[in-house]
Amino acid sequence: MRYAETGFNLEVDLTVGNIERVETDPELTRLHLGGNGSAARIIWDRVSPEADAFSPDNLLIFSTGLFDGTPIPAANRTMVDTISPQTNMFSNSIFGGYFGPELKHAGYDKIVIGGKAEDLVYLWIHNDKVELRDASHLKGMGAQETAHAIKDELNDRDIQVAAIGLAGENRLYMASIEHYNAAAARGVGVVMGDKRLKAIAVRGTRDFQVAEPEELFKLCLQHYQDIHESPFNGDLMAIEWNDAWHHNNFAWGNARTRRKDFWHQEQEDRWKEYTLKIRDRLQGCYNCPKNCHLVVKPPGRQRYMLKCFGKGTWHMAAFEELPFTFDIMALSQEYGVDSYAAPQAIAFAIELYEAGILTDEDLPDFPEKSADRFYYLLEKLVRREGIGDVLADGVYRAARQIGNGAEAYDHNTMKKFEQIPLKLGKVNYPYYLMYCTSDKMAINQTEGSYPQDPIKEIPERQAFVDGWMSAPERFKKFFMEWEPRTHPSFEAAINIADWNETMHYVDDALGLCAFCSSFRGQFGGGSAYNIYNIPTFIKLAAGIEMDADDLWQVARRNRNLVRAINMSRGLKRADEKPPEDHWKKREPENEQKLLDGYYNFKGWTNKGVPTKLTLDKLGLDDVADELIKRGLIKGDEGICYKDQSCYSEGRPKDADVSFRKAEKFTLTEYNIKNK
């Protein structure tokens, strides 16, 4: 009997049009839980390090999380994994909404897509009936437009659709896969487009089982109410009017200018008034009570749903105001471009024009106003017209193709990938490690459990630590010892980076939303899911007995597998560095010591490759053998990961699933107090 999962994957070969329903090995669930963990295993097994991202041998995998579709609230993520053409590495992207639960009810845990279709197709999954259908009539359509066209032609409003827009069709490296209120970014839309797969439509009405249904349901009924009440869960950016934090501290333009005094009351009131005018409501994902998505209808545009930091990225890149973002996102979400990378590529081009590196010849009839330039370049970009064709491969490659000094303007990429625009003062140890070593390529997919700043007042800090049930004991000690404006110790920094990324690997295996788990812990320490309470949900849903240490071990296994994939694809220690000017004041010697310490802690060689000892202990013996064969490790390195129990200092193994409660918590007040 399989619990919480269906036990079947859908294997689709687009080249020959073959579709198979394949039973999966339950042992893989025990080892990886699901989601991006078992997807990494498939990529390791079946996509050779020599295979190019655009090769038909590359796989595009849509995975449900192990918790998706069960009564567990806020578990609805679909993980999309592939090899990205931008980095030539493993790409892990995540989207919410309804898709994952629907897929599970159709009877599948994953869709594994290989090959390439000759012409544009879409995949239609209706329980046992699965077919590839012609999509030539959908060519050029927007992502939501496609979703509704498919629902219309199949005559069912309950179908869930994940689709690419023009950007994916034209293989933009920053193309996203869009679904309902969510999107998968970071190098997956381009592969979907390359495979000529316009969309996946799924409708599922079948049952699957959980191990202890009554107990799980009753627990979830309470957990759902607790999450609803909690100010420590959900996306505060969607509900707070004051966003001085991002606007005053993140960099505007081509990750260039910090406007420390930007935010002021008159402007906040104006933005609030405008938002309320065009906003119909706040909205959420499957089985989650939070309000993280704005339903907006800007004048002259279609109604759409907006989420997350995209609410800031467009106008900050363009030196414009919030209404500009609302307007251009009505276009960009239909075209299906990532709202992190696309605005940066455009801002980069504008800088090059102002520097005389791009000329009127490259940008005929280039408008004067920044906003107009953004619309102009967005259209060029998604059509790969003229300069758009160059920008479509991302800032790093565009800079090298344009040459003539353009390389200097590529100052915010890392591992060839656009980073969140942040330019700060002094190097931050844990952040240095997370930037350098994260195989997720994005800081917001890596940070999140440990607070960014110490709480200034000691009694307040002590009270925080006393109720911080999500934190293993060592972090409470680190936090109490942390003097404001000083570095944590090397040991603390390494542990912090480790805990932060571990929780993301947990979420991305289970399908939990980071805003109720891995990402939100840093703001208030009260996320609904943590390393201690998740095992109870795993036991009741999947029937797998494990404790916090076992769960940490699964995350470690998944993390090392992704690392092994990237190392075998040529990732080097020299690539593990933050964007050049991310911090003004650097500490090169300490940074290298930190990196040494982190690699050692992880059980990796000083080149960052997992050792045989580490991999064997994780049950990944075959991975170790392959790395030896490839000459990446010798096999006799005496280094193993550092194992620390979550139950140190007498911490009991109780099954308490509750989390920190509070009447009120706002990011604004928290930042004013502690930043």
Partner: protein, 184 residues
Amino acid sequence: MGKPAKKIIKEIKVDLGKCNGCRACEKACAAFHAIPRYSNFNPARSRIKVVIDERNDQWVPVRAGGYTQAECNGRNHYVIDGKEYSECALCPASCPSRAWFKEPDSGLPLKCDMCEDVPPLSEPMCVQMCGRDCLTYSEREVELTGAETQEAENHMELKKAYEALVKKHGQKKVVDTFSRLSMR
């Protein structure tokens, strides 16, 4: 005949402005009506459904009413607070024109029973799940009409007769006899 008899009307109020489209009510409903109870959480088995049209800002929880043999000719569109709703988005029928409110295996119609149970629930399960107050439960007392009072009295008489028979012959024998007789 004494005072007019009264009955309790159970109601669920739906505040459309408060729905965030999470569909937890659907899961709660499927769970409560599963046999064994809570053994299922498949929204396709739910007797409440959030009818979604995000392009029109519509998230409308609708509870399954009754089975209808034929689809209606209702093609009305209602404009409420400036938003247009199709009649279908507000209609609780399990009808041939759409797939809602039918058991996915058998196709048999589903109908909301307000989670009738012994002992009674404080609120139907969908309402308990919806912490957002989009669904709220209330009861109100109404006086029965003459015909309804007569029916209630007949029902009481039957109940007394049944209880007397059970007392004399035992429940199993009475039930068996009645089912045998009604088979004819």
